[in-house]
């Protein structure tokens, strides 16, 4: 019963008012989606993809791509592909006919595209696509306008949780849903709500930034409670013995389904795969929770270890990192073991590639391999332990406007990190 609108039909529907992109796509045989405004969303997505691609090429040209970069890029591209598949043809057309397809569309956006895109951490790559001068100006302008601040304020977990759940529940009420079906612009708003709130939701659940960074335990609760609430409409669709969304009567019949079957499938699509996605996120968060605790306790043990070691020597045996050959730097008081743990806590690995630190594969800043053997820090300071500590604590004072954030690292922490970095010969 598959029904794909013919090119002629589509052309007839959009040509009088269509723009170039939609026209081009429609010419390739894509159907119905153009008329409901999704064309603009698709176009925006396309622009985003190109932009990201430029950043990636630039990076590839500068230093080649690591497996890590490729993984992140793959996440970004597959996330975008999912988003494209969700709102583009042929699903867009099907989703006008079948309620279950419409729900599939929602799920692809909310638990497919959004978490993948968040996981890929696109911001650095998008920034990299800009020419360096524009990049600095953009960030300066953003800073001046307080954009970062506003953005991170908006990422308040309670607010995001409410917006995500409320958006989800509201659009699945029969009334608003019918409106979305009737008017293209409202339909677009529906999808935008889902996608944007989902981005914010996943940014908090699995992302790494934001002012209100939650602990993993809180994130677990954040994800699981939202899962329960967003499963509710699905459950009701399954349990309802009457059709709640009569808009799809004709469409379902075309596909050989009853309205009820269509609704049940829709509910189950929301309930089961949706629930499993949240469950997977919860499992990941749980493991991260324990790993995080492990790092932090090593750190605090190091911080508070008895000054007099009962047995001589400190075995620098840390799971996941092994600063072999750690030697004390003459006249410099820093603990490399603690430093390694600190590097994880401060999240240096988000931007730098640091040997022997799990997950430190960032490609925003320079890789820190063989740091002990380098001549300069940031291209301006001689590479000495004291300068390194200074740079770590006050990067913006040393090179104003550079990309390394001021993290207010206490002096001793900076010395310990330095001590670790100097084990990298």
């Amino acid at each position: 019963m598959l029904r794909i609108a013919s090119t002629d039909e589509v052309a007839a529907s959009w040509l009088p008012s269509g723009d170039a992109v939609t026209a081009a796509l429609a010419a390739c045989g894509f159907s119905g989606w153009a008329s409901d405004g999704n064309g603009f969303a698709l176009a925006a997505l396309g622009v985003m993809l190109c932009w990201y691609g430029m950043g990636l090429t630039r990076l590839a040209r500068r230093r080649g791509l690591t497996a890590h970069d490729i993984g992140r890029a793959a996440a970004f591209f597959s996330g975008s592909a999912l988003a494209f598949a969700a709102i583009g043809p042929p699903l867009a057309a099907y989703s006008r006919e079948l309620f279950s397809m419409h729900m599939l569309q929602h799920m692809m956006l909310i638990i497919g595209a959004a978490p993948l895109i968040i996981w890929s951490r696109p911001a650095p790559m998008l920034l990299r696509a800009l020419p360096p001068r524009i990049r600095t100006r953009t960030s300066a302008a953003a800073k001046a306008l307080g954009l970062n601040n506003t953005a991170s304020r908006l990422l308040n977990p309670i607010f995001v949780w409410l917006a995500f759940c409320a958006g989800f529940v509201l659009w699945h009420a029969p009334g608003p849903y019918a409106l979305g079906m009737r008017y293209g612009s409202i339909g677009l708003a529906e999808h935008l709500t889902f996608f944007l709130t989902a981005l914010a939701f996943w940014a908090i659940a699995i992302g790494s930034s934001g002012r209100h960074r939650l602990g993993h335990g809180a994130r677990l609760l954040f994800v699981l409670t939202a899962a329960v609430l967003t499963d509710l409409p699905g459950a009701l669709m399954v349990f309802a013995p009457r059709p709640l969304y009569p808009e799809h009567a004709a469409g379902a019949a075309d596909w050989g389904l009853t309205l009820m079957q269509d609704q049940e499938i829709a509910g189950l699509v929301m309930w089961i795969p949706g629930g499993l996605a949240y469950l997977a996120a919860a499992a990941w968060l749980f493991v991260a929770w324990l790993r995080d605790a492990e790092n932090r306790t090593i750190l605090s043990a190091a911080r508070s270890a008895a000054p007099v070691a009962l047995l001589l020597g400190i075995a620098p045996l840390l799971t996941g990192c092994n600063p072999s050959g750690a030697e004390s730097i003459p006249n410099f008081n820093g603990n490399p073991v603690r430093g390694a743990a600190l590097i994880r806590t401060y999240g240096c690995g988000g931007c730098h590639d640091i040997p022997s630190i799990a997950d430190a594969e960032g490609n925003v800043g320079p890789p820190l391999t063989r740091m002990a053997s380098r001549i300069y820090i940031a291209g301006v300071l001689r590479n000495t332990p004291d300068n390194m500590s200074l740079w770590l604590r006050e990067p913006q004072r040393v090179v104003p406007g550079n990309a390394m954030p001021q993290m207010n690292i206490p002096a001793q922490d900076a010395r310990d990190i330095t001590a670790y970095l100097y084990t990298l010969k």
Partner: protein, 645 residues
């Protein structure tokens, strides 16, 4: 000590259970002598033991109920019991075992052990702890008053409407069940709340979340689960009571929805299945490695499996309702999910196997029980897997196959683990060992009796014997099997009796255990047996999951500090720590013993008595007295640093 002291740097003292410091703590923490002192005690060890003893009494009572109706079922066409008596007995048996034994016994172990394994001196809310115990006890008595009056529940433990609604069940039977359940729900919820706070807020310094014993993961997981699940059943019973007594229209057709009951009940009921097994599994995960002389294999995997089982448990309640006429498409999805819930259990199972394989086991009674446990765990698991498949379940459900399955899960997963745990922790609780020879008899009688008694139920089930029938005709192919089942149940009962004998023997004559008879790894074994009222003379600081094995395992650069710590002797004090890293962040003042919890529990029970006889004046009086007691309980106290001095 001055009353204005608001901040303090904790002192340091050596660990010495014979020092003046110890006697000072003893004075501060000990339960006062005399009956009133005993009734007012808020010591978690005291309360934990009361929980365990009470739960075992309910186990014996529930067991006797089963033994009675097993005689009725041993042969076809028996008339020992009338249908009405049979219905009350099997309903009471189910309710007693699932609600008044299986969970409370685990609560008892948790109440006793959690503060000890966490390295603190009491539960976070000691008075609440006492209160939850009393409410649990009274709710059980309340239910049994119903039995004494001939009005015991008679609609099975899951009490389906409309049979449980008034037109078909006009007596007070169901009202007793409903109200007793609500009362028990109060106890369970508050108890869970207490565990969550204790585990998240009172771990010994350094016991970060990743170093928590699996035992605590079990309790924490099910306590959080309870917080979310309990309201469902409490509400279900409350609405039923409204339907029965005030003519509301929730469950009875035409405008009521009979299936709403099943949804609400199983939304709780399925998580509950995990609630009454996960702590038992975590006791095995805790004790088995000690007896295998190695740390548990796959700590993170087992902890994750525990949590995921609980979470998944909330999503699969529909598999109790496969035959209710749900849409076929939904059945396919839920069948898949129900089958896959096996995976987390498989994780634990293989972790235990690996622990045994790579360890050097000690063959004692506790170990035997754990081995028996693993065997029945697998049998109970695979029969669950069979019922997860929808078409098969259409045949299997509500037959004796399901009865076999649920007994393998509840007795197997719960009772065998509890028995093993009893042998394992009895020396800690009483300072004496249980007898090994009696123990082996105990194990073999129970293990053989259990399998002889319950395995044939799978077969009678496959031969079509429906559950909950008070008798059956001959010629159905069930006769011999039922006789075997009855014999098995009596063998198992004999084994249980031997355990009781062993406990009394152990209390009087058992070998003196010493602080750490099993050479175990965790904190509870670092204090004397039985532990003093204050648990730890100084609060330990941890650097690993296995503080007492660190030197021998030689892992990681840091060692726990057990020989020196803060004594916290300025009154009844414990250390509050941060929930993730267990960094000390507050010194908490603990309340003194108090009779108020008992009084409040009595008032609450009286209120429920008022509800069942509809004596509104009594209800209102109880509410007023209860509120006054609450106010007294919660009045901000200077000595707890809750208000300005």
């Amino acid at each position: 000590m001055t009353t204005t002291e608001l901040d303090r740097v904790p002192e340091l003292a050596p660990r010495d259970y014979a020092s003046p410091l110890a006697s000072k703590l003893e004075r501060l923490w000990a339960t006062k002598p005399g009956l009133i002192g005993w009734l007012a005690s808020v010591d978690h060890k005291e309360i934990g033991l009361r929980y365990i003893v009470t739960a075992f009494v309910f186990l014996l009572v529930g067991g006797v109920e089963a033994l009675i109706f097993r005689i009725q079922l041993a042969w076809p066409n028996q008339h020992l019991l009338t249908p009405s008596q049979y219905d009350q007995l099997f309903s009471m048996h189910g309710a007693t075992m699932i609600l008044w034994y299986a969970f409370p016994v685990l609560t008892g172990f948790s109440v006793y052990l959690q503060p000890l394994v966490l390295g603190t001196r009491d539960m976070a809310m000691p008075r609440l702890n006492a209160f939850t115990y009393w409410v649990y006890l009274f709710s059980g008595l309340y239910l049994y008053v119903g039995l004494a009056l001939g009005s015991a529940p008679n609609a099975g433990w899951f009490n389906y409407v409309p049979y449980a609604s008034r037109p078909y069940n006009p007596g007070l039977n169901i009202d007793f069940y409903a109200l007793a359940n609500i009362l028990l729900g109060v106890s369970t919820t508050l108890g869970s709340l207490n565990f969550v706070v204790t585990i998240l807020h009172q771990r010994a310094p350094g016991m970060s979340i990743n170093r928590m014993p699996i035992l605590s993961w079990g309790t924490l997981t099910i306590s959080v689960g309870n917080l979310f699940a309990m309201p469902s059943v409490t509400l279900a019973f409350f609405l039923l009571w409204l339907d029965r007594q005030f003519g509301t229209h929730f469950y009875s057709p035409p405008s009521g929805q009979p299936l709403l009951w099943q949804h609400l009940f199983w939304m709780w009921g399925h998580p509950w299945v995990y609630v009454i097994v996960l702590p038992a599994l975590s006791m095995v995960s805790e004790a088995l490695p000690v007896l295998c002389r190695r740390p548990l294999v796959g700590y993170t995997a087992v902890a994750l499996a525990t949590v995921l089982t609980m979470v998944l448990g909330f999503g699969v309640w529909l598999h109790h309702m496969f035959a209710t006429g749900l849409p076929n498409i939904a059945l396919a999805f839920f069948s898949a999910v129900s089958l896959f819930i096996v995976i987390p259990s498989a994780v634990s199972n293989f972790a235990w196997l690996a622990t045994i394989w790579t360890g050097r086991p000690i063959f004692n009674t506790a170990f035997l029980f754990f081995v028996g446990f693993i065997i029945v765990f697998v049998i109970g698991g695979v029969s669950g897997f069979m019922t997860g498949s929808v078409p098969a379940d259409w045949q299997l459900t509500d037959t004796y196959f399901v009865v076999a399955h649920l007994h393998y899960v509840l007795i197997g997963w719960n009772l065998f683990a509890v028995m093993g745990a009893s042998y394992f922790w009895f020396p800690k609780m009483f300072g004496r060992m249980l007898d090994e020879r009696l123990g082996r008899w105990n194990f073999w009688l129970m293990f053989i009796g259990f399998n002889v008694g319950f395995f044939p139920m799978h077969i009678t089930g496959l031969l079509g014997m429906p559950r909950r029938i008070y008798t059956y005709p001959d010629g159905m192919g069930w006769d011999t099997l039922n006789l075997i089942i009855t014999i098995g149940s009596y063998i198992m009962a004999a084994g249980m009796l031997l355990f009781v004998v062993n406990v009394f023997y152990g209390l009087k004559r058992g070998v003196i255990a010493g602080p750490n008879p099993w050479d175990a790894a965790t904190l509870e074994w670092s204090t004397p047996s039985p532990p003093p009222p204050y648990n730890f003379v100084v609060i330990p600081t941890l650097a690993s999951r296995t503080p007492l094995w660190e030197e021998r395992l030689n892992e990681g650069p840091y060692r726990s500090q057990l020989s020196e710590g803060t004594p916290l002797d300025h009154g009844k004090e414990v250390l509050g720590t941060s929930s993730l890293d267990a960094q000390p962040n507050v010194i908490l003042r603990m309340p003194e013993d108090s009779i108020v919890p008992l009084l409040l529990a009595l008032v609450l029970t009286l209120l429920f008595a008022g509800l069942i006889v509809k004596a509104w004046w009594l209800v209102i009086a109880c509410l007023a007295v209860g509120l006054a007691l609450q106010l007294a309980w919660l009045w901000p106290r200077v000595e707890l640093r809750e208000r300005r001095p």
